[in-house]
């Protein structure tokens, strides 16, 4: 029951967040890109509930627009990871033999490359853009899903309903897509939920290092980065995006754990 309540809390937080992101143009009190130097580094007040940054931009408005970027990157990166991981895992688990051996050694190889350096190298070479970030995060985080799906398929394919589908003349594609994967979706859903939190975190790290979402477009990571230099005089610049990241990732983790508990019982 307690786990369930926490999962619901996570879901409610994420619902509010999604609403805030979608409704950002109506909710934001100011234009997130509008700078006004006389208003720089104002503390929280009625006009600027979370204060302003060095260029006098409203922090709350920037956070609201940043939520859009962070959530979109999180979901799309995880979407890419899911598609890649499910495809690799399903093929490895279903076909077995050398297909399995080759695919799983590829997974091992990918897992042994330190992701953050790979990300930094690729972005440094190609130049930062939102699309590149989503793709690269997705393509470096599918291996866990692949292993998970492979393990599920390995146990599921011994079940009798798979044999029953085979004796009805179902093709391998049909067996995988219709009979095996739908039965493997529970753990995948858990992993996807946890993955969105992870992807948002990675995006924040990249943006914090200046290789993620580029200013003036706001993202939680780069707001945090810009606030870093004024940490001594304007705590609200770093605390508010930091809390946003913390709460969002926590909410995704709680929801993921809650879904896992549901599937376990």
């Amino acid at each position: 029951m307690r786990g369930n309540k926490l999962a619901w809390a996570g879901a409610v937080v994420l619902g509010l967040l999604a609403f805030a992101a979608i409704a950002a143009p109506w909710l934001a009190p100011h234009d997130p890109l509008q700078s006004s130097l006389p208003d720089a580094l104002l503390g929280p007040s009625a006009g600027h509930p979370l204060g302003t940054d060095q260029l006098g931009r409203d922090v709350l408005s920037r956070l609201l627009y940043g939520a859009r970027i962070s959530l979109v990157i999180g979901f799309i990166a995880v979407g890419i990871a899911m598609v890649a991981g499910i495809a690799v895992g399903a093929c490895a688990g279903f076909f077995g033999g050398w297909v399995d051996a080759v695919l799983m050694r590829f997974v091992d190889t990918m897992l042994s490359i330190p992701t953050i350096f790979l990300l930094l190298t690729i972005i440094a070479m190609v130049g930062p853009s939102i699309y590149l970030i989503m793709t690269v995060i997705g393509l470096t985080s599918w291996m866990g899903v692949a292993r998970l799906v492979r393990a599920e398929i390995l146990t599921l394919k011994e079940r009798e309903f798979v044999l029953a589908a085979r004796v009805m003349g179902a093709s391998p594609t049909r067996l995988i897509l219709r009979h095996l994967l739908p039965n493997a979706m529970g753990p995948v859903l858990v992993s996807a939920t946890l993955g969105v939190g992870g992807a948002i975190l990675t995006e924040s790290v990249l943006s914090y290092l200046g290789l993620g979402v580029q200013p003036p477009t706001p993202s939680w990571g780069n707001i945090l980065n810009e606030g870093r230099v004024a940490l001594g005089v304007a705590w609200w610049l770093t605390v508010s995006p930091g809390l946003c990241i913390l709460v969002t990732v926590l909410a995704f983790n709680l929801l993921g754990e809650g879904i896992r508990e549901r599937f376990r019982s």
Partner: protein
Amino acid sequence: MPLLDVRQLSVSYHQAGTALQAVDGVTFSVEPGEVLALVGESGSGKSSIALALTRLLPMPPAVVSGEVRFDGRELLTAPEEALRAIRGGRIAYVFQDPDTSLNPVLAIGEQLIEAIRLHDEAEARPAEAAVRWLSRVGIASAAERLRAYPHEFSGGMQQRVMLAMALAGRPALLIADEPTTALDVTVQLQILRLLRDLQRSLQLAILLISHDLTVVERIAHRVGVLSAGRLVELGPVQDVLSRPAHPYTRQLLRYRSMVRLRRPEAGHG
């Protein structure tokens, strides 16, 4: 010409350097509309034969040799696509455990409609055909039941659904591997009756795999007795059961009479 003609079928399982001979040179045939039962205890190779016929055994570790002619066509060397069309279309299967044979995440109707679509492309209204098949196997208010999930059905009803799925492809041969073993005694009788009625009305040939001579006696025309992978006796049911020629068959019959003494109600009805 027999519908199914099996000659010198052998199945062995190879693993880690050792080979286990599960089926050893078995020869039999099934005529159109005939019910042939294969009996034998666990491990006698019954289920290996059932699966080997349409090449459903994982190979490796299984090694299958011999000839399997169905409708004059050799199955053991046929390409996989041709076999997929035959499986479920011309040769259908029903297994022992209906509870695990149905996909738990798909509704009954979806699974039945899939079976119909796979093999009856001419069927313009598969949903209506699904309702017809469910009614035909004796499921009441079939139209509402289409949306139910397997766990909402009892074992007997699940096996009826499996039968409907098997027959939806309009097969000439049904391979029924212990179709009543997992069911309660009373439900066993209902399913057997249903199977016999369907067999008669559809002129279906059935290869019935069973360890239960009572089941065999009720429905089969001929019976083959398997012992340690060999077919030790084959003939009309009445002859084999009343004048068993092989010592193993006599032993099977003796065990049955022992069980009958303890459970007299199971033998009659």
